[in-house]
């Protein structure tokens, strides 16, 4: 009687097995992906998913990789690390993937690393924190710039403007906290003093108390806002509301046209480090990244109807690095592909030019970041960066 209900649950599990068995077609290269398509990180995961789908289709239309078609299997972890871990296990045990491109957030990536390390499957992460590649895990790589690099770029720009004392206002979400920690760590070496710090919740609607405290702190010459999502837009608006005239720096997490729309006229003069993707059409013609980013921007906008975001760009880079590694290895063999990923040299992507090595599983250096300033409602390149 009661057990009957439990067998229903078992039957549901069985149905799941049958369904996933049906999905396994032969002679296809299986690429798995666990992304935060819904939940608090959804505007990371959504463009990532769209990008992967668009480009897997494109690659298959051109004949696939090594003569085999690609099959993309995407699961949504809703921003929860426990779910990510479960889906990672499912990808390894049930779907039997050959490689993994995914992990929108640091939390979900860290939860999944042990699964892929143990299963010896190459894993290219799309998350930002530096702990993903430092210390180096044999099977784990990543495409986005680290938050440490973003801090270094911002601090370098501050030094050129002769500003050395700053205040930080960061989001208490994982992205904001991680970048804030990195900035605090690299500040002394960069000669920057952090005079005061404030924080806000990622869903807060008014940051004027925090900014008032910053405005009242003597000696602050500039303000840095590590965070992503809607918070930075609200911070920027409040900044103007309070009439604070100090230079404001945002993080690379807000690098999208949407930020300018949402922050409105308050965004004027705001600077942030970003990859070339954002200023695709403004790049000098001889910039090697130009054809890649212009192409990606056009394709993504056409196929999805939305403006590009750097997060989608990271997914593009991850997929392409994987595909090119498979082409060089002339197989989908996990160990060979891993070796080839590690040997990626001179890959020109949306994030920069990637040169990986056994000690560097990200492959980008500070030149991958440009310092952008918002002028006249659009991104402009700060000269010399």
């Amino acid at each position: 009687m009661r057990t009957m209900k439990h067998f229903t649950a078992t039957a549901a599990i069985g149905l799941c097995a049958v369904l996933s068995a049906g999905l396994q077609a032969s002679a296809q290269i299986k690429i798995g992906s666990v992304l935060s398509v819904t939940g608090p990180a959804s505007f990371l995961g959504d463009p990532e998913k769209k990008t992967l789908e668009i480009y897997v289709d494109e690659i298959n239309a051109k004949g696939g990789v090594n003569g085999q078609k690609l099959q993309l299997i995407v699961y949504d972890d809703a921003g929860n690390a426990n779910n990510a871990r479960t889906f990672a296990t499912r990808l390894v045990e049930e779907d039997k993937i050959d490689a993994m491109v995914g992990g929108s957030t640091t939390g979900s990536t860290l939860a999944m690393i042990p699964v892929f390390e143990e299963a010896k499957i190459p894993f290219i992460s799309l998350a930002g924190a530096i702990q993903i590649v430092e210390p180096v895990h044999m099977w784990v790589f990543k495409t986005p710039h680290t938050d440490k690099m973003a801090c270094e770029k911002i601090f370098a720009d501050l030094k050129t403007r002769k500003l050395t004392t700053i205040a930080m206002i960061s989001g208490t979400d994982a992205f904001g906290k991680s970048m804030r920690d990195q900035c605090v760590a690299v500040a002394p070496k960069a000669g920057i003093t952090i005079a005061t710090e404030e924080s806000y919740g990622p869903r807060d609607s008014d940051m004027t108390p925090q900014l008032t405290n910053i405005r009242n702190k003597a000696g602050v010459q500039a303000v840095v806002n590590p965070g992503f999502g809607q918070g930075p837009a609200i911070v920027t608006r409040n900044y103007q509301q309070l009439g604070i005239k100090l230079p404001l720096y945002q993080s690379h997490g807000v690098a999208s046209k949407q930020f300018i729309e949402l922050a409105g006229p308050a965004a004027e003069g705001v600077r942030l480090p970003a990859a070339a993707l954002l200023i695709a059409d403004k790049l000098p013609n001889k910039d090697p990244q130009k054809p890649v980013v212009v192409n990606y921007t056009r394709t993504y906008q056409q196929k999805s109807g939305q403006a590009v975001s750097t997060f989608g760009g990271h997914a593009y880079d991850g997929l392409m690095i994987l595909v090119q590694a498979m082409q060089r290895a002339k197989s989908a063999d996990k160990a060979k592909v891993r070796d080839e990923i590690e040997k990626t040299k001179g890959y020109i992507g949306t994030g920069g030019i990637v040169n990986m090595s056994p000690t560097d599983h990200m492959g980008l250096d500070l030149s991958a970041f440009h310092m952008l300033e918002i002028k006249g409602g659009d991104w402009t390149l700060v000269p010399g960066t």
């Binding site: 009687m1 009661r2 057990t3 009957m4 209900k5 439990h6 649950a9 078992t10 549901a12 599990i13 069985g14 149905l15 799941c16 097995a17 369904l19 398509v37 819904t38 995407v74 699961y75 949504d76 921003g79 929860n80 690390a81 426990n82 779910n83 871990r85 479960t86 296990t89 499912r90 390894v92 045990e93 049930e94 640091t106 939390g107 860290l110 939860a111 042990p114 924190a129 702990q131 208490t172 979400d173 994982a174 906290k177 991680s178 920690d181």
Partner: protein, 316 residues
Amino acid sequence: MSLRALLETRLLPAILVAAIVIILPLFFPSAYYYRIGALVFIFALAVVGLNLLMGFAGQVSLGHAGFLGIGAYSVAIGPVHFGAPSWLCLFAGAIFSGAVAFAVGRPILKLKGHYLAVATLGFGLLVAIVLTNEAGWTGGPDGMSVPALTLFGWRVHGSDAWYWIAGATFVGGFLLALNLMESPTGRALQAIHDSEIAARVLGIDVARAKLTIFIISAVYASVAGSYLALFNGLVTPDEAGFLRSIELVAMVVLGGMGSIFGSLVGAAVLVVLPQVLTIFHEYEQALLGLIVMVFMIFLRQGIVPSVTVALAGWRK
């Protein structure tokens, strides 16, 4: 003992559950299923505790994941910051959760209905906020990694190992809950649920009974949280968050408030359903919400009680 006598004991449901735990793996094609099974039993353990509180004592808690989080972080902070062995931290976490439940429960269990719900909500949020902010201890929003459990020199590792541990613990917790409900405290609680004033008139120490069950449910959740953290090797503040609390309440209500076996069913449905719904991609969330609504409209006492009643009626 004759077979008939055995069947009529209180032990029957527990034997049934133990049988399920033992027989299920025969249907498991891969480690993924062991993981799902382990997760079901871990959450079912927490849900049994919450069911004792909500179903039997009638006290709504919207912050129960707070105790889950305390248990989870105990086995992270203890080994990493104090070098203590994981199993000891598990017990310490359970005791600490009980103590917190005692401290918090005494004032807020005086509240009734929605007011109690808000107070427990506040408690859960407070725990989640502290876990997120005190990054020096807890690793902040990204959480911290949890060293694996070592028992008698053997490193507990892998979905199958945790399936058996979670399953066995669940059977134990299940038996304990059944015994509790037949005990004087359990009967007092049912009396309180039916009518608090009548119970008080009968001389039942209402405040003490409520507090006792609150502490017990906190300990259940804490153990479940510790298991979850040890199994995943990672813990994040999400495990104490509002969404997790709502998920636990949904498991109680879906399975059947006041039905201990329902706790298992509720946990199974809400752990397995998202896995099954992945084939619907972007419609997954909408479908999940729809299914929960449909279940509650048509099986409004929960799956197990409704099915039991329906089958009893059909038998006639």
